[in-house]
Every structure is written in structure tokens, then in C-alpha cells.
Amino acid sequence: MTRNVDKDKKDIMITPGEGVGILTAHSIGEPGTQMTMRTFHLPGVVEAVPTGLPRLIEIVDAKKKPKKPVVMIYLKEKYKDMKKVEEIAEKIDEVLLKDVAKFSEDFRKRQILIRIDKDEIRQLKIDLIGIKKKIKAELGPNIKMKHKGEKVLLITKDMPLRMLRKFTNKMKNLHIKGVKGINKPVVTKDENGEWLIVAGGSNLTDLFKFEDVDPSRSTTNDIMEIYNLFGIEAARNAIVNEMYTTMKIQKVNVDIRHICLLADAMTVEGEVVSVGRHGLSGRKPSVLARAAFEETVKHLVNAAINGEEDRLRGVTENILIGQPVPLGTGLVKLTMKHETK
């Protein structure tokens, strides 16, 4: 029995010298080309989030911000009731001043009139005085505020027109309520029947300040945010998850180990590194390998300036100079002691 297990284990293990990197590249790259041609389309809002090849490229390029960040907020208590979840969702939803008020600028008098929509704030359960306080807090030294009911008048002292417009825009985006950057929260059920909130935008740091939000299960599709918040190991897992799910949605079956290897390669250095000129390929130790990839002249000249040395340990270099590649059958060496007289 144990012998069989041992034998199976040996069979499963990858052979020493197997070119796992290139196999990964092939295994992800080939279905990737298929994906360009037949991207499945989904109905509704979900479509706005990049899926398929564009999303994969986004992950692999290690973009600072995804095109459309999305958070999945799980709650500490597993509510059976949708209403309570909706309440929380409402709390989270970011409300800006422009959502509840109308602006009109008077460039001659250098004034800004803000008309707050009473019905709107009543619906959102926002306090009128609270808003006014928030507006006041934002005012600079040269601006005075007059208010009467739902009307707020901001009087500036000879502010240049451009500054006035700038200030209006600043006021429009004044944060009133909810979590910064979170919009359009939708309450849905996951495959286990649990209620959760899916929202656009990504701001886990502020979200975790809410008591109801479960920080151990809530997640985002913004890998860089995960990296900044949880560290590199989490980022690696996020890469794996994101790639795996996007490919699964496209019905592209790539073995998860390939994705793991790619994620490992992207994160071994302790930070998330993109695949390409500025990332993985651009950081190869070998001058020749880098020069063979992109920006040949740049690498050669820099190597000359710095007096770099190429140990010829990689695959590309050895193909270039015509040596056996240190991979597969080329990895093993027969050493023989030469008897010298």
C-alpha cells in the first residue's frame, strides 16, 4: 500500500528538468489566442467589467488600477433576510454632493449657489445640517457661506474664474455619505445561497471599518489593492483566483498549476511584477536574453556601460550562442575525471 502511494507520488511529480515555464506559456498562450476569437458575452452590468482576454492582459500586465474595480462584500452575520443586507448596502453606497444638489455658478458675482434636493436627501436619510457642516469644513479662507433652508450660497472674494470652476468641481465631488469610491452596490446571492453585496469601485481599507463587513471573506478584483493591504502572498492568490475564474467563464480549461506558476513568477520578487518588457522579461539576469527580447540596443549599451557579465545560465542565451540548453536532457552532465600524467 505505502509502496503504491510512493509510486503514485513519483508518477505525479514533475520530472527534473521539465521546461515548466515554457509549458505554462504554451498552455496559457494557446487557449488565449482562442479567447480573442470567441469571447462569451454576458448580459447586464457584469459586461462592463472586462472579461476574457482584456481582463487577462490586465492581470498579466499588473496594472495599477483595473479598468473596472469590483468588490464582493461578505458580511459577518449570515443574514437570511435580504432587507438587512440592503440596509448595509445603502450605508456603504457613496453619495457625493452633486448627487443630492444642483449647482449654479454666477461668474459675474463670483458666487456659487447650491440647491440641495430635499426629497433626495430624505430618501437617502441624510441630515441637511450635516451636509451644510461638511460644506463649511471645505471652505477656504476667502470664501463665505450663506444658507437658508435648502439653499447654500458661497461667496468668494474676486476669485479667478478658473479657480471658481475648479472649486465648483471640488464641491460637486464632496463626500457626503458612505464609503469613498464605492458605487452601485447590488445585493446578490452567491452559489451557497448567502447574501452578499457586489459593488463597483474598490476600497477595502474603508470598508473594513464597518462592523458588519467580514474582512476575512470580502474581496476585490483589484490585485494591487490586495497587495498593498494584505501583502504579496495574498496578491499571488488573488492573481490565481482572478485568472482562473476569468478563464473558467470563457470555458477555457487551463490547469491551475500553470496559473499558479505564472502567479509565482509574478510575485517571487516580493512585489507584483508584470510579464513583459518592464517586468519579468526585463529583469532577466542575462544581457543576451534581454537583448533578444525587446529594446536590444538599450540593453547592450547599458551592459557595456556597467560592464555586465553574462553567466549563460538561461535558455535564450544558450540558443543564441549555440550551446545545449540547460533544460530537459541538457540539464544532466556527465563528468569524467581526465587522467593526466
Partner: protein, 610 residues
């Protein structure tokens, strides 16, 4: 530019000549006067009411086509006039003069006409009627029969392939010296013809044979657009083509009064090819017609004066060292010298043209196509006795695969098969012009009369076993063309051969006897397998392997001095060298980097002590 007037701007041949308050009236008048003969019949109008512009064109270079004039929903080509034409009472000129037919240019066609395709289709709004409904098709498309039964992509393909068909391209081919030309041995007029073929004269410059075509499988040799061809038919000249190729050169004059010369080069000439290369040449340096040549045989012996004066020998007296400049047959070609023409070039020099001919018999890999976008490659040549046959002893010339039909929807091909059979039995060619309905019902009647199944099916017997083939086979006559892609002009393989001077890598392309590229993706696959030594063999040993001597002290390339019998480092006085195996491409790279002012050093170590 803002318009200052509400009037119509009138252009004559692209230049503004004035304005007119009522554009419709002007256009109407011009057309009316043109039809009555008051204005020349080559004048055409373009009318753009939205931008209030009228273009009147009278200049040359517009492609125009004749159409029957329709007025008030009635064609001007009335039955009475038709009868007059039939009795030769009036001719074409009269039709134009009397305003029955007029020529439209593209501009007028686009802006002022509504053309009915058939006489039955005419409504009140129509202004013109096609002389014939095929008129809407192009020159090439109108050559193809029954295209209204085919899917449009196939029609497109059929058009482009018809242009590649080999046939009788010119009847004076024997007097011509085209660089490359093909002439078919027994070209046939298509049994299913089109009227435009007759009008345009392409009927007499055709390329193809009417073949007996069966739609069935033949032992897998016609899978995936392969076709099986009757070898005996090929031996009788089916689709056989002669290829003509002309090589030419002239005695050029150079500044300084020097001149090329046609002659058998003397062995002292620079670049002498050896005695055997010149064996077919006569004293004047030219080859004789009828000689069988091949390989790199010289066709025209020619010598040129030396390019530089310095080449004059060192012994003082100018002994001219001439350069070999003969014209040879290309390495992969062979043939018979068809004719030799000695004439004068436009610049007044002596010029020779040598025409080589070679018979191209249909063989495995040659391309054939019907006129319905159904192309195929010959997959097998079967002797007649092994081909299937009908009860009458009819043996197909060509067998196509039934899978070629459904997804491509080339019903025209099937219809041609059926009608071709009818035409053969009736002894009459059938008009297959597109948009002229072919009567399949009549065809069925004819087939019945001659004792065939009306649907074109026949019982076939296997030529090998003699057994009856269980399925009934659709068999008939289709016009097939031989296309310009002949394997004998393309086939290529290499084991060893020439390498490029710069990189020491094998040359590229058939004409240079080149290798087949082992590309980047192929390389990736071999890496994926981890087959390192195979990879090294492909990319190094079989390509540009070189052994370089490297100075262990300074890391630069050394060379071997055969006079001193020892390796020399060009930089230091080292005596310590290593022999290193590398790709020549790498050596070249290092040399080029050196030329940039960077000195890459190679650090050597012993392989066994690593």
C-alpha cells in the same frame, strides 16, 4: 464654402461654368436633347439635388455601357423594333440615333437612373432596362455559367480561379517570346457556354476540358478537395499543357568603347563554368533549337569586359581578363530549346532570346477547378481499367468528393454536371448564361429519352473488383480548368546546400536551393519537450556552427596563422587559447557590437571542471 446662391452650380468636365435656377429642368433638357440627337450622345450628366450641383461630362476615359431607355413604364425597344432588328432593317447606330438605346457613365448611372434587370420587372419609376440581365455582371463573372445557383463566395473564388486557368492565351503564341507562357494541347470550348463568352470572344481563348465527372469517394484519395484523375485520359492528352519560358540577353555597350560578346567563353575567363556547361553552344555562343537542356546548362555564352581597369594583368601589357556573363537555365528547370531569336534591342544592341519549352503533364499535386469555385488537387492518377465504369462503359475522367458540395452550396456545379450530360447526348451546346433560367425539367426529359435516370444518377461498377457499387453515383460532364499552380514549379527539398555569406546560415527560397525555416514557434515546441540536443542540432550543427579560437587572456577572437603555424591573438601576445564551438550568428553579433565601440570579452572555462 458657403453658397451665395440658391441656384444649381453647373460643372462642365469638372470646371464651374455657371449656375442654373432649375436643376431638374436643365437635366431633363440635356437628356431629352441627347436622346433626340441635338446634343452628342457621348454627353452624360450627374445630378446632386441635395448639394445643388450638376456635373456635365463630355471628356474621355469614362467607362460607359448601353441601356434600353424606358419611359412611362414601357421599354422603348418595342416588339416592332425587335422585329426590324431581326430583319436587318435597322442597326445599332439607328437605335442610338432614335433614342431607343443610350450609353450611361457611372455618374449618371448612380444619380439619374433606375435600371430594370428584366423586362417583366419594369414599373413606372424605371428609367432604363438592361439589354440582357447578365449585363450587371463583370467581364469575368459573365464567363461563368449559372452563377445564380451558387453562393456568392464561391462565385468570387470561381472568378479569381478562371483568371489562373491555362489554355490558349493567344493564337500567335508560336511567334511570341513571353517570359512565361502556357499553352494547352487540346483546349475545348465549354459544352455549357455563356452568351458573353461568344460576344467577348473568350470562347476562342479558352482554358479547359469538358470532363466526365463522378461525385463519389475513391479509396480516400479524394478527401479534402483531392481529385482522382483517370491516368489513361491524361495519357491521351487531358489537360496537358506546354510551358514556354524565354531567356534573353543583349551585347551591352560600356563607356570606353567596350562591349559584351556572344561566344563560348575561353577557359581563361573569370568565372569559367567548366567545359561541360558550354557543350550545347555553337561557335557563335548560342544554343540550337531542339536541344534538350537541363540543370544549369548555358543557353547563351557571353563574356563581359572587366569591371575595373585595375584587373589588367600585372605583366604590364594589357591582357584583357574578361568576365563570364552567360545566361543559364535555372537549376530546377529542364526542357527543350524551342527557338532562338537573334535580333536587335531597342538601344540598338545585338540581342538574343531563347525560348525553352517543357510539357507539363497533369500529375499528383497539380491544381484543377471547375467554374463554380470548386477547386481541387490531383491526389491520385488511376489507370482506366481501375476506374469505376457505367453499364455503357463510360469511365469518369475525374472523381470529386461528395463532401465538396453541401457546405459550399455550389448548386451550379451540380446543374452543370446534369446539363453537360444532356448537351452531350443531344449533341448541342447549352446556354448556361447566369440569370437565363436553365430548364432542368426539359433536361430530365432528354435524359429519360436517352435511357438515363432523369436525376443524373448511374449505376457504377468498381474497376478493380468488378463489383457493382452499392450507391448510385451522380455523374455528368463538367468543364474543368487546369490552374497555374503546378507542383513541378514548386516542389523543393534540401539536405545540404548553399549558405548565406553574411551569417553562414542556409539560404532561403526554392530558387536559391534554400532550407526550410525552423522558426521561433517550432523552437518553442522543442524546448517544451526538453529535447535539448535535438534543438542544438537544428539550430547549430545543421545551420551555422563554427569553431572559433578564443584568447583566454583577453577574451577576444583569435585567428590561426598558417605561416607561423600557431594561433594569434590580435590584441595581446597570449599563447593561451581555447577552441570554442558557437553559432556563427553569435560571432557576427560580437563583431557588430565591437563595431559600436563596445568590447565584449568571452570568459572561457573548461567544461569538465565546471
Amino acid at each position: 464654402m458657403a453658397k451665395k446662391t440658391d441656384e444649381f452650380i453647373v460643372y462642365l468636365n469638372g470646371k464651374i461654368v455657371g449656375t442654373h435656377p432649375n436643376g431638374e429642368e436643365l437635366v431633363r433638357d440635356i437628356i431629352k436633347k441627347r436622346r433626340s440627337g441635338e446634343i452628342h450622345h457621348e454627353v452624360n450628366v450627374e445630378f446632386y439635388p441635395k448639394v445643388k450641383e450638376i456635373y456635365i461630362n463630355t471628356d474621355g476615359g469614362r467607362s460607359r455601357r448601353p441601356l434600353v431607355i424606358v419611359e412611362n413604364g414601357r421599354s422603348k425597344l418595342t416588339p416592332e423594333i425587335k422585329a426590324k432588328i431581326r430583319n436587318n432593317e435597322i442597326e445599332w447606330k439607328d437605335l442610338i440615333r432614335n433614342g431607343i438605346v443610350e450609353y450611361l457613365d457611372p455618374g449618371e448611372e448612380d444619380t439619374l437612373s433606375y435600371i430594370a434587370i428584366r423586362e417583366e420587372d419594369i414599373t413606372e419609376e424605371h428609367t432604363h432596362l438592361e439589354l440582357d440581365s447578365v449585363g450587371i455582371l463583370s467581364f469575368v463573372t459573365s464567363q461563368l455559367p449559372m452563377q445564380e445557383y451558387n453562393s456568392s463566395p464561391r462565385t468570387t473564388m470561381a472568378c479569381s480561379m478562371t483568371k489562373q486557368a491555362l489554355g490558349l492565351y493567344a493564337s500567335n503564341y508560336a511567334l511570341r517570346y513571353d517570359t512565361k507562357a502556357y499553352v494547352m494541347f487540346y483546349p475545348q470550348m465549354p459544352i455549357i457556354y455563356t452568351r458573353p463568352q461568344k460576344i467577348l470572344g473568350t470562347e476562342k481563348r479558352i482554358g479547359g476540358n469538358n470532363l466526365v465527372v463522378a461525385v463519389m469517394s475513391y479509396r480516400g484519395f479524394n478527401m479534402e478537395d483531392g481529385v482522382v484523375v483517370n491516368k489513361s485520359a491524361v495519357d491521351r492528352g487531358l489537360l496537358r499543357v506546354e510551358m514556354f519560358k524565354t531567356y534573353s540577353t543583349e551585347e551591352r555597350r560600356y563607356p570606353g568603347g567596350q562591349k559584351d560578346k556572344f561566344e563560348i567563353p575561353a577557359p581563361t575567363v573569370n568565372g569559367y563554368r567548366g567545359e561541360t556547361a558550354y557543350k550545347y553552344l555553337n561557335e557563335d555562343g548560342l544554343i540550337s533549337p531542339g536541344v534538350e537542356v537541363g540543370g544549369k546548362d548555358v543557353l547563351i555564352g557571353k563574356t563581359s569586359p572587366p569591371r575595373f581597369l585595375e584587373e589588367v594583368s600585372a605583366f604590364g601589357i594589357a591582357e584583357e581578363k574578361k568576365k563570364e556573363a552567360s545566361i543559364t537555365l535555372k537549376a530546377e528547370e529542364k526542357g527543350i530549346v524551342d527557338s532562338v531569336l537573334l535580333t536587335q534591342s531597342p538601344s540598338g544592341n545585338k540581342m538574343v532570346k531563347v525560348r525553352i519549352r517543357e510539357t507539363k503533364i497533369p500529375e499528383n499535386g497539380d491544381k484543377v477547378a471547375s467554374r463554380h469555385g470548386q477547386k481541387g488537387v490531383i491526389g491520385l492518377l488511376v489507370p482506366q481499367e481501375s476506374m469505376p465504369f457505367t453499364k455503357d462503359g463510360i469511365v469518369p475522367d475525374l472523381i470529386i468528393n461528395p463532401h465538396a458540395i453541401p457546405s459550399r452550396m455550389t448548386v451550379g456545379h451540380l446543374l452543370e454536371t446534369l446539363l453537360g450530360k444532356v448537351a452531350c447526348m443531344d449533341g448541342k451546346r447549352i446556354d448556361g448564361t447566369t440569370f437565363t433560367p436553365a430548364n432542368a425539367e426539359d433536361a430530365k426529359e432528354v435524359l429519360k429519352r436517352y435511357g438515363f435516370e432523369p436525376n443524373g444518377y448511374e449505376v457504377l461498377y468498381d474497376g478493380v473488383t468488378g463489383e457493382r457499387i452499392e450507391a448510385e453515383i451522380f455523374i455528368g460532364i463538367v468543364y474543368y480548368q487546369r490552374l497555374q499552380h503546378l507542383v513541378s514549379n514548386k516542389m523543393h527539398a534540401r539536405s545540404r546546400g548553399p549558405v548565406q555569406l553574411l551569417t553562414h546560415q542556409p539560404t532561403e527560397g526554392r530558387s536559391r536551393e534554400g532550407g526550410l525555416r525552423f522558426g521561433e514557434m517550432e523552437r518553442d515546441c522543442i524546448i517544451g519537450y526538453g529535447a535539448t540536443m535535438l534543438l542544438k542540432e537544428r539550430l547549430m550543427d545543421e545551420s551555422d556552427r563554427t569553431v572559433q579560437i578564443i584568447c583566454n587572456d583577453c577574451g577576444s577572437f583569435a585567428y590561426y596563422d598558417y605561416l607561423k603555424n600557431k594561433p594569434i591573438c590580435p590584441i595581446c601576445d597570449s599563447t593561451n587559447f581555447s577552441q570554442v564551438e558557437m553559432s556563427y550568428a553569435f560571432k557576427l553579433l560580437v563583431d557588430e557590437i565591437k563595431s559600436l565601440g563596445i568590447f565584449p570579452r568571452m570568459i572561457t572555462s573548461n567544461k569538465t571542471e565546471e
